[in-house]
């Protein structure tokens, strides 16, 4: 078996095309189940009432915003170390989805914060570092497209993405390291301080977000592959057929 069979853009193009639709279908099914659990089955919170239900969007998107950045940085490291083409294209394809999740996490958090905390925004460590993550995504995308030669853009932006990894533990541990207005983690590796139905809804929504991210990335990477390989014979054949 050839482990690197799908590391060539031409073969991965087909694989991505086959994997994307089932990812989207799974995402939709899981989202329906998660929203049913979250909005229909889960009880209201003792203190916040129904406004807490924003966690079914907020927490999955916030998790994905960090996780996708990590995956993107791993692809960037592969790009720099092995000079592979597909990894750079994958990183480029992940970035917009990651930025979208970061934005949604910040946005939903603001709308939760207004009724619960009494303010849309505070400059505490958690909120500020998550905003920095959004700017890192923007910076990565801007730098990747700032060069005439896309391969130079790949390398420059990969370096930026890898440097930005330092921000991830800061986001995650900010609520432990400093006094923040943002509460600590309700779910950690040690356990949870949430009611079980609420947790179930949140986890199902997280898997849905995961599937959506995979589907969106695969669709986008197909576009990136076509654009970058437009002079290759197999793409010309694709157009001719």
């Amino acid at each position: 078996m050839n482990w690197f069979y799908f590391s060539s853009p031409s073969t991965f193009y087909g694989l991505a095309g086959r994997l994307a639709p089932p990812s989207f279908i799974l995402a939709a099914v899981l989202a329906a189940a998660g929203l049913y659990l979250g909005l229909g089955v889960a009880p209201t919170d003792a203190q916040q009432g129904a406004v807490y239900r924003v966690i079914f969007i907020h927490v999955p998107t916030a998790w994905m915003s960090m996780f996708l950045y990590f995956v993107m940085a791993c692809y960037c490291a592969l790009t720099l170390v092995f000079n592979t083409r597909l990894s750079a294209m994958m990183a480029r394809a992940i970035a917009p989805t990651g930025a979208m999740f970061t934005f949604v996490a910040l946005w939903t958090g603001a709308f939760w914060g207004r009724p619960t905390w009494g303010t849309y925004w505070v400059w505490d460590a958690r909120l500020t570092s998550e905003l920095v993550l959004l700017f890192l995504y923007f910076g990565y995308m801007a730098l990747a497209n700032a060069f005439e030669d896309p391969r130079r853009g790949d390398r420059a932006s990969a370096l930026l993405a890898i440097i930005g990894v330092v921000n991830l533990p800061i986001i995650y541990f900010s609520v432990q390291w400093w006094n923040t207005l943002h509460q600590g983690s309700s779910v950690s590796f040690k356990g949870t301080s949430m009611h079980v139905t609420m947790l179930a809804g949140m986890l199902v929504m997280s898997f849905s977000a995961w599937m959506y991210a995979i589907g969106a990335t695969l669709v986008r990477v197909r576009a990136v592959i076509l654009e970058r390989e437009r002079r290759a014979q197999w793409v010309r054949d694709l157009g001719a057929a």
Binding site: T44, Q47, W117, G118, V175, N179, T180, Q183, H195
Partner: protein, 156 residues
């Protein structure tokens, strides 16, 4: 050594150096990154007395007193060890309750009373239905206090 091994080592080494640098910088800025001070720090005068700052803690049970104008509220913020009297005129967030977390921004006057410009409610990481909360309350479980004290409670 192959060039790609060199590049991999450069990335790992660079990240490690960057991590250490970031750690040192954050450690140096420790006190500036703190969103609020605790009542104990106020009692020890570890707070900037000449400018606005925030205090955080729990609203001490039985200390919330509203004045006749219905907007001015007096209460005490406690961290279990010390408490600071606070006066605030304005609309309080929904989650402002006795025994629950609060963060207030303002300054300490000469009389030792903290005059707040803004009061924010701090939510804890517990999410439970009302029945469960009621059961905990009847069992005399001091949940909120424990969790609040445990968060960000690193000594300065």
């Amino acid at each position: 050594m192959k060039p790609r091994t060199k590049r991999a080592l450069a990335i790992v080494g660079g990240l490690a150096a960057l991590g250490v640098a970031a750690g040192l910088v954050l450690n140096a800025f420790q006190s500036n990154l703190v969103f609020f001070f605790t009542p104990t720090q106020v009692a020890k005068k570890e707070v900037p007395l000449d400018r606005n700052f925030r205090i955080g803690g729990l609203v001490e049970t039985g200390t919330v007193v509203r004045e006749k104008d219905a907007l001015t509220v007096n209460f005490k913020v406690t961290d279990g060890a010390q408490s600071v009297p606070v006066v605030y005129t304005g609309i309080l967030p929904d989650l402002f309750k006795e025994g629950k977390g609060v963060v207030a921004e303002g300054r300490v006057g000469a009389n030792g009373i903290f005059t707040a410009r803004q009061v924010l409610a701090k939510h804890d990481e517990n999410y439970m239905p009302p029945e469960a909360a009621e059961a905990l309350k009847q069992a005399g479980h001091p949940m909120a206090k424990e969790h609040f004290a445990g968060q960000g409670g690193r000594p300065q």
